[in-house]
């Protein structure tokens, strides 16, 4: 039994406001729960649906089609370099959907598993973190669509594609910070249940998803980069479209810095409210 074997015969002390030194060790000890919760969400997700996993294809594909028609054909916005508009849109849609699904799933996950929170102890971070795996699976499905699109349009990626995992990680880090904060706040104030969908909806249009970030005038670029997703989407396009979409250095650095500030802030506020979850939920 792992727990007792590694347990030193020291006392565990429970008292008010005590910073739990064991926390990070417990998080590691409960890693199996992390995978099991993710597996449960995946296993249950498409039960009793007719087309099942096909939903993971339909949603991003249809969004891409609509954006290409509205922004590319009707509004006639420019693409990046010589890249087909559809591929450009999809390269932006990938990180955005990853961000949006982690944000919305992780932020509601604590309230959604109130039955667990009020009955069993485990490091609560596991619950929002386990939603990442589910979002990643959807992301992999979308990658397959992207590969299909690139084949169709004959877009050959450059060496930059090898850096894609770095940007996937950044998109995850960028989403998990605000998601943890929102999850903690949502336990107290259920108002955020209505705010989160609103944020992801607005964010879809103020982030360069359906259009290229480069059409924003030069003097506003730095301000625009305060939205960390701007730098990350830009980086995705650079990885996928290669030379057609050069990465913008300063904007990218700002995005990364903000991402880590949000991450630190999210973990801090989550850890602070976590011990009261069972009383508030």
């Amino acid at each position: 039994m792992t727990a007792s074997a590694t347990n030193s015969p020291r006392y565990l002390v429970l008292e008010a406001g005590r910073a739990d030194r064991q926390y990070w060790r417990d998080l590691w000890r409960y890693r199996e729960l992390f995978f099991i919760l993710a597996w449960r969400d995946v296993a249950v997700r498409y039960k009793q649906t007719v087309i099942g996993l096909a939903w993971a294809f339909v949603r991003p594909f249809m969004t891409m089609v609509v954006f290409t028609i509205v922004f590319g054909k009707i509004a006639k916005l420019p693409t990046e370099g010589a890249a087909p508009y559809a591929v450009m849109v999809f390269a932006g849609l990938l990180p955005w959907m990853l961000f949006a699904s982690v944000l919305s799933d992780a932020s509601t996950s604590i309230v959604g598993s109130s039955n667990l929170i009020s009955k069993v102890y485990f490091p609560r971070l596991i619950v929002p973190l386990s939603t990442i795996l589910v979002a990643l699976i959807d992301f992999l499905v979308s990658l397959v669509i992207l590969a299909g699109l690139m084949l169709w349009y004959g877009v050959v990626p450059g060496w930059q594609i090898l850096l894609l995992p770095v940007f996937v990680l950044l998109a995850l880090l960028c989403s998990i910070g605000p998601a943890l904060w929102a999850a903690a706040v949502l336990v107290k104030y259920r108002d955020f249940r209505f705010i989160i969908p609103f944020v992801t909806q607005i964010g879809l249009y103020i982030s360069p998803v359906g259009f290229s970030g480069k059409i924003v005038p030069e003097q506003w670029q730095l301000l625009y980069s305060l939205n960390p997703m701007v730098g990350i989407i830009d980086g995705f396009r650079w990885c996928i479209l290669g030379g057609n979409s050069p990465i913008q250095g300063p904007g990218f650095v700002i995005g990364v810095v903000i991402t880590f500030v949000l991450l630190w802030w999210g973990i801090r506020s989550f850890r602070r409210t976590e011990r009261a979850f069972a009383d508030l939920i």
Binding site: M1, L14, A16, L33, N115, V120, Y121, K188, R275
Partner: protein, 430 residues
Amino acid sequence: MNDVVIHAENLGKKFQIGHHTARQENFREAMMRGPRNLLRGAVDMLQGRSVIAGDTIEEFWALRDVNFEIRSGEAVGIIGRNGAGKTTLLKILSRITEPTEGRVKIKGRVASLLEVGTGFHPELSGRENIFLNGAILGMTRVEVRRRFDEIVDFSGVEKFIDTPVKRYSVGMYARLAFAVAAHLEAEILVIDEVLAVGDSEFQAKCLDRMSKVANAGRTVLFVSHNLAAVMALTRRALVFGGGQLHFDGPIEAAITRYAASLSKPSEDRNWGRGHNSALISANLVDRQDRPTDRYEPGEPLRMRVVVETDGMPGMSLELLLRDELNLPVAFYSSAVFNQVSLPSVAGRYECTISLQPYDLAAGEYCFDLKTTYTNVGEDHRVDNALRFIVDTCSPGGIPYNFKQGSGQGTLALRLEAPLRFAPLPTPDPD
């Protein structure tokens, strides 16, 4: 001193609760209340306080000044009325919630079972749920796999192990859930009311399993309203009342103490109300219709119950008689036993219930009262609504007092005809 595994010092837990002050308000006040509450909510939120519904906020100590020590290998019962602080204590010990003051020191791994089947997902099969539930309770996959056959065997649902649990019957579900929990390995086991599942055969199996755990040198904390189960499992008990530890000692003394606290009339006679009906008051009455708290065996058992109804048809009035150990003794349902419902005209009624004479053993009893809707839905239930005492029970008319707690049940059997002994030829000794 070294074998103390749980040490609680001045433990306390505070909650904040909101009250709605019910009073008449005019239209203008009602209109103003919305914006005012919105403003207060917004200020609370900005300051990071929790939003509590209600006009006044009150602090409430669910647990206060609790001190005790539990040694390795002890099985300890925790008893007390609803709201005495038992569950709060268990939640603190199992790290679900944090104490407001004081501290607990714990040595060893704690596994807590505050409910069986925590995290069971209806769409997943029995097999999948065993792994899911095991992980939630803190077992590793290797542990679950090692004990998988044992768990399935114990639950008795082998045939349906790959069926989604939403197709299970309530009993099967409970059996599977308990089976996982029963195979937890931990030095300290904290159990709340989990025996209240399944049929009596399975309950006996659970009880047997629990006593094996308790005898295997593990520390067990056991909360239950089932005093017989607590008595069978433990030798020591903590009695809680109103958030305080009232008694800590041998189980027999603890149960006496607990029973004594139950017999005190509850100060608060406001029983609340159900959706369609409300039980207002209940009294035992003697032959002259005067309220009493004594019952004379052999007399009709009479009571007066005041009940309100909104006229909903098909409402039934039910009684459950319990003995000193809170075990059910007898039951009555007006709809099922007599096809009589509450009046279908809204109003308040006094109902006189006159039961046949019973030879109840001497001791204390209580009735739980309940109104139900078409025999299925519980509308208003009041536990311990009516308490009474039987001083002596001498069915034979001789000075022999048939008492509760002598291990002979609660009802003296009466003969319908005199005993007859007919002589038979003695069998030949071969």
